[in-house]
């Protein structure tokens, strides 16, 4: 079986084409750097296609380039499918000239011909093929145009007999670009038109100096509204109703003849723990549907561009924005992605600020508390927490930069892709990917901790006991004095925060087991509005989880890991204290 290497610049539609050719379901994103590992698929079981990471050239040394280069050097490919953006041939063909040096037959796939046509670019395909010595196939992957022709060509294999000897050995970049310009001069006819493309028109508004920031926050607010008011939270409420008023009474009935400890383990331990977290699946799905929409439409790259300017003003490197954005998903990959920053001080500073970006594990906690204590204002409350995290990151960024992390600024370059209408299938696949992760976590980690919490809350060293005399209560009572000034000092809340070090969703799982019954109702008798908000601020700011501590240790050593834990705990305590005291002062 022949093997084809699918290769091209970042964000030219490689993964979309790969999915169409192989029937795969790989994640496709409208921003650079989506594919960072090679993936394999088969076309009609006759041809193996390997999707390689997007790269601009073969002569630099990033991880992505090394994966692609090694694949070609090891002669693993019989031929190359080089996909290029037809609307930006000059830059894309630089890689093509370098690929020619490997003397492997190439099929040049001109993707996004619809975009190039809309820009008034006319391409003479046969002349281009003749000049470059490759087979040329025009397609539009997003509109599924030209894919069948490409499939026929791939399965026919005629191009394999094309001569591969060539004169494509350029001494330097300039020679290569001069050659590309001379080829394009012959093969391209660009109609000069004053007509602006839709991307240019949208960018005039989205990147407008005055409108950019209000629009950015408005878009974020709408996503939160969609999540907490329109779709996610109402569905979570319905799921909660199904569990509390449907599943639990049925289980109670089924287990009516069982031993009390056994029925308590099943209902209070497992269903109470896992159930109190799992009901927030619609909230997670809604938020990530919104974020996927932003990514796929091409807005996310603009968000990075917009925020770069603000971050520089605040004293942060623009490059650090990408790890911070990743931090809204999970702090672990975010801290790891700080590796891309060149200065060590920048890496450390970014790693310390990343946990302030509220990760998705905290979302179920926010959702429950906001619905219980701030009905009608859920969106505003959750939005305020995210903003508080961002604001603190900026403030601490300035503080650290002018004290322990003095450094020079690094340039930040990001490619702004064309705007695209997100593909529905891709949006659903991406959203489900997040939901699957959440369900997996509920079924494993949260299940196991719920069982442990049930055991610790039902027993002491003398045997089965009342929850207030259990091992868990003893642990909770030991640490609860720390939280007295913050307004939520019960042993139940203290121990839930402690278990949250495993993962933030576990806070709800623990509360579900400890408080039992309808958690929303139980919380109302254990918190006031002010102490609930103070609790949420503490959840936002304290050490994210054990994985983050381990990552800090792995990336920066023991000292930095210990420092980060103490700094995060201190910050959480101080800000929660201020919020609680201010709340009492203003609202009581």
């Amino acid at each position: 079986m022949k093997t084809a290497a699918l290769i091209g610049n970042p964000n030219v539609g490689k993964t979309s084409l790969f999915n169409y050719l192989t029937g795969s379901n790989q994640y496709v994103g409208n921003w650079a750097g989506v594919t960072v590992e090679k993936k394999e698929g088969f076309l009609d079981n006759k041809l193996k296609i390997v999707d390689l990471p997007g790269i601009y050239a073969m002569d630099t040394f990033s991880n992505e380039e090394m994966v692609a280069k090694k694949f070609l050097i090891d002669k693993e490919a019989d031929f190359i499918i080089n996909i290029v953006d037809a609307s930006n041939l000059e830059r894309n063909l630089y890689l093509t000239t370098q690929l020619k040096e490997y003397n492997i037959p190439i099929i040049l796939v001109l993707n996004m011909i619809d975009v190039s046509e809309s820009k008034g670019i006319e391409i003479n395909y046969s002349l281009l093929s003749e000049n470059l010595g490759v087979s040329v196939v025009p397609i539009s992957a997003s509109k599924i145009k030209g894919i069948e022709d490409l499939k026929k060509l791939l399965l026919g294999g005629i191009f394999l007999s094309a001569p591969t000897d060539n004169d494509f050995h350029f001494q330097n970049e300039k020679e290569a670009y001069d050659f590309i310009s001379s080829v394009l001069l012959k093969c391209i006819n660009k109609k000069h038109s004053d007509k602006k493309t839709s991307t240019e028109i949208i960018d005039r508004i989205v990147l407008n100096k005055i409108l950019a920031y209000p629009l950015f926050f408005l878009i974020l607010f709408l996503i939160f509204k969609f999540t907490f008011s329109w779709v996610g939270q109402p569905l979570a409420g319905f799921l909660s109703y199904v569990i509390d008023d449907g599943l639990i009474p049925v289980l109670n009935n089924l287990l009516s003849n069982s031993s009390p400890w056994f029925s308590s383990l099943i209902i209070n331990g497992i269903v109470g723990g896992v159930g109190s977290v799992i009901v927030f699946l619609p909230v997670i799905l809604s938020l990530f549907l919104g974020i996927s929409f932003l990514e796929d439409s091409g807005y996310m790259a603009r968000a990075a561009f917009i925020m770069d300017k603000a971050m520089r003003k605040m004293g942060l490197s623009g490059k650090a924005f990408i790890p911070l954005i990743v931090g809204f998903g999970c702090s672990v990959p975010a801290i790891m992605s700080a590796r891309t920053l060149e200065s060590e001080k920048d890496r450390k500073l970014t790693a310390l600020l990343v946990p302030l970006m509220s990760c998705n594990a905290r979302l179920p906690v926010y959702a429950l508390f906001a619905a219980a204590f701030f009905p009608g204002n859920e969106t505003t409350v959750v939005f305020s927490l995210y903003l508080l995290g961002i604001l603190l990151a900026f403030t601490l960024g300035i503080l650290f930069k002018s004290t322990i992390f003095k450094k020079d600024e690094e340039p930040f370059i990001i490619e702004l892709p064309e705007y695209k209408a997100p593909e529905f299938k891709n949006l659903l696949a991406h959203t489900w990917d997040k939901g699957k992760g959440f369900l997996k976590k509920a079924g494993t980690l949260i299940f196991s901790i719920s069982v442990a919490i049930w055991f610790l809350s039902s027993f002491n060293f003398s045997g089965m006991t009342d929850i207030n005399h259990s091992i868990l209560a003893s642990i909770g009572n030991f640490i609860s004095p720390i939280f007295i000034p913050l307004g939520f000092s019960s042993w139940q809340n203290s121990v839930s925060l402690l278990t949250g070090l495993m993962a933030k969703e576990v806070i709800l799982g623990s509360m579900g087991v400890i408080y039992g019954g309808n958690l929303r109702v139980s919380l109302l008798s254990n918190f006031t509005q002010i102490s609930a908000y103070s609790f949420l601020v503490f959840v936002l700011l304290y050490t994210p989880c054990v994985s983050v501590i381990a990552t800090m240790k792995k990336e920066f050593g023991n000292k930095m890991a210990i420092f980060s834990v103490f700094y995060q705990l201190s910050l959480a305590w101080i800000v929660s204290f201020i919020v609680y005291r201010l709340g009492i002062l203003l609202f009581k």
Binding site: F288, G329, S331, V332, M336, F438, V451, A550
Partner: protein, 46 residues
């Protein structure tokens, strides 16, 4: 009663095993968010 004990043993064994695996994974700095796309640097070969 025997069935209850058997089910309980299975639940505790499963929970213990899952927790052990999770703690081991977390202590090595691997995240368990399970919800990242291929943007995640965890995918990159070191």
């Amino acid at each position: 009663m025997y069935l209850e004990i058997l089910v309980t043993v299975i639940i505790f064994a499963a929970a213990g095993f899952i927790m052990y695996k999770n703690i081991k994974k977390k202590a090595s700095g691997k995240c368990d968010c399970g919800s990242c796309s291929s943007h995640c640097p965890n995918y990159k070969k070191k």
